[in-house]
């Protein structure tokens, strides 16, 4: 059964949305948060577990230093204050995704607090407040067996794999995001996008939403326009792509507006997002689940990051995405719109790496944004998933610059590289794509063409210079497009005394 919806424009005319985003990011450490088990994605079930992450009696967790450094870097990049002292806490709940019956998390003492992240939508900047960034551990994965759909409702029993249990997880919670109006879905998406870029730049996570190493929960509430009081919020989980972040916000605005309009009340609850339909459905009601009985984790001592350590980590931060975009825009001489296109196409890294490999910015951008974007779109893959490297693109451009290739031949080289025929030079050699620039060779071909096309040659000799086009065509055909057409034309006219 699908919920009643109010058309988006109408909903926005009547109500002002307030958003909140909670993002979980798995850190890319080699070992888990509190034990030495590996964190490899996709390993066979229960092959990366030990007494600590299974919560067996007598085991003792010890915090992973690289994970603590990772979260502090994220906190610093989000302009947070890194607290001087904090503790882990036990979050107790009865659910088999944690074998211990609790999750080690942080409660009232998060490691990083009070930051912000600026995001841009349609040329306007929105400052998203960051409430807190805290450290916790990921949970296991359940497979629900029986029932109609493999979902938790109606399942006969569940099978649990604890490989993921205990992987370092960072939770980033925004402050309420207000004043975005009809841009709310885009702002939420821009925030998730910018956060992903930021964390990726820090190199602390691969932030792959499709593999679950970045997951978003979206809080939405509506207030009648002009009202100072916020409405009841819902929390939508299972939002696993950037596009879904936008769709989930939009759907909740339309749904809640319809509920309020019909005189109903929005229920505070967890809702599940469905990728296929773009809708949400009610999950478990929240009241009971919220009694987590947090208390300080007795098995882990407090974290007290020294100011020296924090400053060391701050100094180690790489160039962050916003600063990088400004620099690249200046260096490459792009307009705001051109920069946005490059960023949206996911081509910034690729173009920059191509430039680093020795290519000029303009051709680097041209190949990635035109030829290669077109091919990626045709194949329905991301630009970065194309089997061609920035170094190879730079090499192809170098061959053009030295006169060995023209753009037309270069496209065939791209095709060959993408087809797995090897590096550009191998493709050029195997396909015989070099421009025939050897003057003697070209001259011999021209002589042959003139001999083979005596009638046409005679016309040119007698002054019909336009007829030379046919001879140029024949030269190009004989060289399979690899001759410099302009030079061939010069040679023909020279030899026929028509120049």
């Amino acid at each position: 059964m699908s919920a009643a919806l109010m058309p988006y424009e109408e909903a926005l005319a009547k109500y002002e949305p307030v958003l909140g985003v909670e993002t979980h990011i798995e850190l890319g450490t080699a070992s888990k948060m509190f034990c030495g088990c590996p964190t490899t994605f996709g390993a066979p079930p229960n092959t990366q577990v030990c007494p600590v992450c299974l919560g067996l009696p007598g085991s003792l967790p010890v915090a992973n230093k690289a994970a603590i450094e990772g979260i502090i870097k994220i906190g610093l990049a989000l302009n947070c204050t890194i607290v001087e002292w904090c503790r882990f806490a036990r979050k107790n709940y009865f659910y088999p995704d944690m074998p211990k019956n609790f999750q080690i998390s942080q409660y009232d003492e998060p490691l990083c607090v009070d930051g912000h992240l600026d995001v841009e939508v349609d040329g306007e900047t929105y400052r998203i407040g960051i409430e807190r960034v805290h450290m916790e551990e990921d949970t296991g994965k359940s497979l629900h067996v029986g029932g109609a759909t493999g979902r938790i409702h109606g399942a006969d029993y569940s099978l649990v794999d604890y490989n993921r249990a205990g992987i370092p997880l960072v939770e980033i919670v925004t402050k309420p995001i207000t004043g975005t109006g009809d841009k709310a879905p885009l702002v939420a998406r821009a925030y998730a996008t910018e956060l992903r870029e930021l964390v990726r730049a820090l190199g602390v996570s691969d932030v792959r939403m499709e593999e679950g190493s970045m997951r978003c929960d979206i809080n939405v509430s509506l207030a009648p326009r002009g009202s100072a009081e916020w409405g009841t919020r819902t929390e939508t989980k299972n939002v696993n792509s950037l596009r879904s972040v936008e769709r989930a916000v939009r759907h909740e605005i339309e749904r809640q507006a319809a509920v309020l309009e019909s005189g109903g009340t929005v229920v505070q609850e967890t809702r599940h997002f469905h990728e296929d339909t773009g809708t949400t459905t009610s999950g478990r009601s929240k009241e009971e689940a919220q009694d987590y009985r947090y208390f300080p984790e007795p098995d882990l001592v407090p974290i007290a990051p020294s100011r020296e350590w924090v400053e060391e980590l701050r100094a180690s931060l790489p160039e962050l995405p916003a600063a990088r975009r400004r620099r690249v825009q200046a260096e490459w001489g792009l307009t705001d719109l051109e920069l946005r296109d490059v960023v949206n196409a996911g081509a910034l890294d690729l173009i920059e790496d191509t430039v680093k490999a020795g290519c000029a910015p303009a051709p680097a951008r041209k190949w990635w944004m035109n030829e290669l974007s077109r091919r990626a779109a045709e194949q329905g893959v991301e630009l970065s998933d194309l089997p061609i490297t920035p170094r190879q693109v730079a090499r192809i451009q170098a061959l053009i610059d030295e006169g060995s290739l023209n753009d037309k031949l270069a496209r065939q080289v791209f095709e060959g590289v993408l087809a797995g025929e090897g590096d550009p030079d191998q493709v050029v050699a195997a396909r015989g794509l070099k421009i025939v620039s050897d003057e003697g060779e070209l001259s011999a071909i021209v002589d042959q063409v003139i001999a083979d096309n005596a009638e046409v040659a005679e016309k040119v000799r007698s002054g019909k210079v336009a007829a030379a086009g046919a001879l140029v065509g024949a030269v190009m055909k004989a060289t399979r497009g690899q001759a410099d057409a302009a030079r061939a034309r010069e040679l023909i006219l020279e030899k026929l005394g028509a120049s």
Partner: protein, 99 residues
């Protein structure tokens, strides 16, 4: 005034999925009240200048390097499980009373 009420004990039992009967609740609520009252006496000793203490050791920043150590084999991991299937822990239906 008791340190913990019978209702609170019933609530905690429900959160812990413990099926306690009426008599058990009476019995345990009284016992827990005695235990908590005894522990609460510690609070009387604590002076204003003593901060609440969660850890007995005066240590902070105990970390381990990010190094992989051998895990258990799946057979070892599942050895104590009441039920297993497809190399996974098999657990009863999760949303029993709520679904």
């Amino acid at each position: 005034m008791s340190a913990i009420t019978r209702d609170e004990v019933a609530h905690l039992a429900r959160l812990s999925r413990l099926a306690l009967g009426e008599e058990e609740l009476d019995h345990l609520a009284a016992q827990l009240d005695v235990i908590i009252s005894a522990v609460a006496r510690v609070q009387e000793v604590a002076a204003e200048d003593i901060p609440p203490t969660s850890h007995a050791l005066p240590l902070t920043n105990v970390f381990r390097p990010d190094e992989v150590r051998p895990s258990l084999s799946p057979e070892q991991a599942l050895a104590g499980a009441p039920a297993a299937e497809e190399q996974r822990f098999r657990v009863p239906r999760i949303l029993g009373e709520e679904a």
